[in-house]
């Protein structure tokens, strides 16, 4: 079987854009290629969606037009050309990932999915809404959107075209033939509740991690390696101003935290967001880490992983922390309680309640045996539920299922595309 992964880019967000999956499939003996809008890495089996100045100009013009007309993934003509891309033509199956960042055209989906058996992984609910990535408590996505109360959230719109976009999606999906993959029950329930995806066949397959690499290590040694102050309890978290990741609650709860132990805040991604605690806590900003080795060092140096996301469809970082044997503190109302098996392992508190977050942190800071016991449980659960091998096995089974259902042999599929 030959598979083409389709995504926005290769290096950044490799876990979600198909790049890691692409390499895992190759390691498993499948033929795989990755086609991306913007190639940043040097991998020979990753290709650009299109090349050339003219196409780039066409795309830029379409993107500008979309922005000024408050439309999304609708005007770029280049997605229609994808059917002629050599990697698409050669593939038996196309697997789409993050296709909502401007390079794709939703109206190309019907044609492409008719040409090739298709799988689409939904990493967030954008495909179900009129414009936003996460609707939070808004339920309009179940009724057609329109009169949007939060046009300014990602991906923002100047004019309220949310109903129009919702309708466009409905039309595009109704003419398309794809199988959906989601990573959590939370996301599966959203898909089932969406009028847009009535036809869709949904497969729930949690993402997996490399459990041999993401594993418990010598915490003290790793703390020393990262320059953590001796005796300090390390609280790790992702620092980002994205409205979905709950920065304000992390800040609030750390302001309220009242413990005697010295604390180190270890952050990933954006730097400088926790600087207000300088002098009170030690702050170590790791920045954006591209290598797994550095990530693993950081997880292993961690005592508590804090993930107060308000919008999360799975929670890969929580899974990685689990695999490294660290307790996690999360919010209700996202996929995170399910992903972290709260309350058995994850500590889940009411969404938006920074007092509860601070209390949960305090308890874990002051109770070392609880930290250890939750960490051990987390590792066991990760081994049971989030192995990379299991993820790939199940995905390959979906590929085979889709191919079989479409009743096409690989050869016939290629012949049709050609």
């Amino acid at each position: 079987m030959r598979v083409v992964q389709v995504g926005v880019t290769d290096v950044e967000g490799a876990r979600f854009n198909g790049q890691d999956l692409h390499h895992q499939l190759i390691r498993r003996g499948l033929e795989s290629s990755h086609v991306v809008w913007r190639k940043r890495g040097t991998d020979d089996t990753t290709y650009e969606f299109y090349t050339g100045t003219l196409r780039s100009k066409i795309h830029q013009t379409a993107a500008k037009l979309e922005q000024s007309l408050s439309l999304q993934s609708l005007l770029s003509p280049l997605a229609f050309e994808f059917s002629k891309h050599p990697q698409f033509k050669a593939a038996d199956l196309a697997h789409y990932h993050l296709i909502h960042t401007g390079f794709f055209n939703l109206m190309a989906l019907p044609g492409l999915t008719q040409l090739k058996p298709s799988v689409w992984t939904l990493h967030d609910p954008w495909a179900l809404t009129g414009h936003c990535v996460h609707p939070f408590d808004c339920a309009k996505w179940k009724e057609g959107c329109g009169n949007c109360p939060s046009l300014d959230v990602e991906f923002s719109m100047k004019k309220d075209n949310t109903h129009l976009m919702w309708k466009v999606k409905q039309l595009a999906y109704s003419m398309s033939d794809f199988d959906l993959v989601v990573c959590s029950k939370w996301m599966e329930e959203m898909v089932k509740a969406s009028p847009l995806m009535k036809k869709a066949r949904v497969h729930r397959i949690p993402l997996g991690v490399d459990l041999d690499s993401f594993c418990p290590g010598d915490t003290e040694l790793k703390k020393q390696k990262l320059g953590v102050q001796p005796g300090s309890i390390v609280i790790a978290l992702r620092a980002t101003t994205s409205i979905y990741k709950g920065l304000q609650y992390a800040l609030e709860c750390l302001r309220k935290l009242d413990v005697k132990q010295p604390i180190t805040i270890l952050t990933f991604n954006q730097k400088g967001l926790f600087e207000e605690f300088f002098g009170r806590y030690q702050i170590i900003d790791m920045g954006w880490l591209e290598s797994n080795e550095e990530m693993i060092d950081a997880y292993q140096a961690t005592d508590i992983f804090l993930m107060p996301s308000e919008g999360e469809s799975f929670g890969m970082m929580a899974v990685e922390a689990m695999a490294c044997g660290k307790p996690c503190v999360v919010f209700d109302g996202t996929a995170l309680p399910e992903t972290t098996f709260a309350p058995d392992y994850g500590i889940s508190v009411k969404k938006g309640d920074s007092d509860a977050l601070a209390a949960a942190l305090k308890e874990l800071i002051e109770n070392e045996s609880k930290r250890r016991s939750l960490g051990n449980k987390g590792r066991k659960l990760a081994v049971q539920h989030y192995s990379e091998k299991e993820y790939i096995d199940r995905l390959i089974a979906v590929y085979q299922d889709v191919m079989q259902r479409r009743g096409r042999s690989a050869v016939a599929s290629r012949a049709q595309a050609n």
């Binding site: 020393q224 320059g227 102050q229 001796p230 730097k271 400088g272 926790f274 600087e275 300088f278 002098g279 030690q282 702050i283 170590i284 900003d285 920045g287």
Partner: protein
């Protein structure tokens, strides 16, 4: 433990090129005052003085004389046209004014300079030209010489030209033109002496030239033994030497020290600065000793008595290419001093990569107080790390930054001109 540098063995071609008549076409002659001149002199020590001649295109503000050891060589100095652009008109008109001035320099002044160089070449009859590409004048001049003189040319780049032209407020049109010329000069050079490993790699890739890193070096014998711990006192002495070009980074350090009340892990912080012309806000109010300019040997002696040596480098995204490609010569001095270096710069910068590769420095890649404070604290607190960084720094110096190594690289670069034939 003493680290022995790898033996430097000159090949046949290196020996042969050392006997060639070479013209140094540069912005300064080999001298005793300026970093570029010191480096040039050091490189020239691997050549026969009798075979050298020098044509310098001097900055009118610089008072510089030929190094005493090379006083007898044929030498001509001319003044460089003004490269820093003063604009009298606003905005686009100012750019236009600058463009006209630059165009005049390129089409009138530089050809006149080129004619003088050609005349000097006729008189001195060199077999090879070694040209330093600093500033738009030298780039244009090198281009004209390459096009009109059938001699092989080896070029040297200390800093990417974007940095120079930006700090001299050159207009965008002229910058584009100079960058095209720069690329062509690199391509038509038989070899390029690059300022860093990153620059060599980048220029090889982007300009299709043959670049070799020739990084400023110091005599191996000057190197101090690596320190094994901080000085026995209740002070933490941070040393700094050289030019003060990274002001944002400096200010961040001073703000952090203010926030820490100039105490790190219980030690009172003191800064010792060696060099000329420091401009820091609130400079006199702080616990800083200003020691003025000292020669390199004395600088190493003073720095070796400090606890930590501070090496700031540009975080400013507008100076990204400089950060990526240049190499601070102070780092060589620091590593020779045997004390741990605190590199305060972005992860993509060439000194950061160098120190990371050799695990030879405490790396701080943020401007935030917490990042600086963590790096300082760790060096004070973690005695093993302190000793390890100093030891690895000593090793990195011995392997990559000695005079001997620089000269070997320099000869290798010149030898390439031998093997590749004259300019196209």
């Amino acid at each position: 433990m003493e680290v022995c540098p790898p033996p430097i063995i000159a090949g046949k071609q290196e020996n042969s090129v050392a006997n060639k008549r070479i013209l140094l076409l540069s912005v300064v002659p080999p001298n005793t005052r300026y970093t570029g001149g010191l480096m040039l002199h050091s490189m020239c020590q691997s050549l026969k003085a009798d075979n050298l001649s020098c044509f310098s295109v001097l900055n009118p503000r610089m008072k510089v004389e030929m190094h005493p050891e090379l006083e007898g060589i044929p030498y001509k100095a001319v003044l460089r046209p003004r490269e820093a652009q003063t604009r009298h008109l606003p905005r686009r008109l100012g750019s236009l004014e600058c463009y006209f001035k630059e165009t005049y320099t390129a089409s009138v002044t530089v050809p006149q300079l080129a004619e003088q160089v050609r005349q000097f070449i006729k008189e001195t009859k060199p077999e090879l030209i070694f040209c330093t590409l600093e500033g738009q004048t030298m780039i244009r001049l090198a281009d004209q010489i390459q096009k009109t003189v059938p001699l092989p040319m080896v070029t040297q780049v200390w800093d990417p030209p974007q940095w120079w032209m930006r700090s001299n407020s050159v207009d965008g049109w002229s910058v584009n033109g100079v960058l095209k010329t720069f690329s062509s000069v690199l391509k038509n050079s038989q070899a390029v002496a690059a300022a860093s490993w990153s620059m060599a790699e980048t220029y090889n890739r982007e300009h299709g030239c043959k670049a070799i890193p020739v990084v400023p070096g110091l005599p191996q014998t000057w190197a101090k033994q690596p320190a094994t711990r901080l000085n026995d006192s209740n002070k933490l002495v941070i040393g700094f030497a050289g030019q003060m070009y990274s002001k944002d980074e400096w200010n961040a350090l001073l703000e952090t020290l203010d926030a820490l009340d100039w105490k790190v892990e219980g030690r009172d912080v003191e800064i010792k600065m060696l060099g000329r012309e420091f401009e820091l806000e609130g400079f006199n109010k702080r616990n800083i000793q200003y020691l003025g300019w000292r020669d390199q040997l004395e600088s190493i002696e003073i720095l070796s008595q400090c606890d930590i040596l501070y090496c700031p480098y540009f975080f400013d995204r507008q100076l990204e290419s400089t950060a990526r490609l240049s190499f601070p010569s102070k780092l060589t001095t620091y590593l020779a001093s045997g004390r741990p270096v605190l590199l305060h710069g972005p992860e993509y910068s060439s000194p950061f990569k160098f120190l990371k590769e050799h695990d030879a420095g405490m790396l701080c890649h943020g401007l935030a107080k917490s990042a600086i404070s963590n790096a300082l604290s760790r060096l004070v607190r973690d005695t093993d790390r302190y000793a390890q960084v100093a030891q690895n720094g000593h090793k990195a110096f011995a392997q990559n930054l000695t005079d001997e190594h620089m000269r070997a690289q320099f000869l290798k670069t010149l030898a390439m001109a031998e093997s590749r034939g004259p300019s196209k």
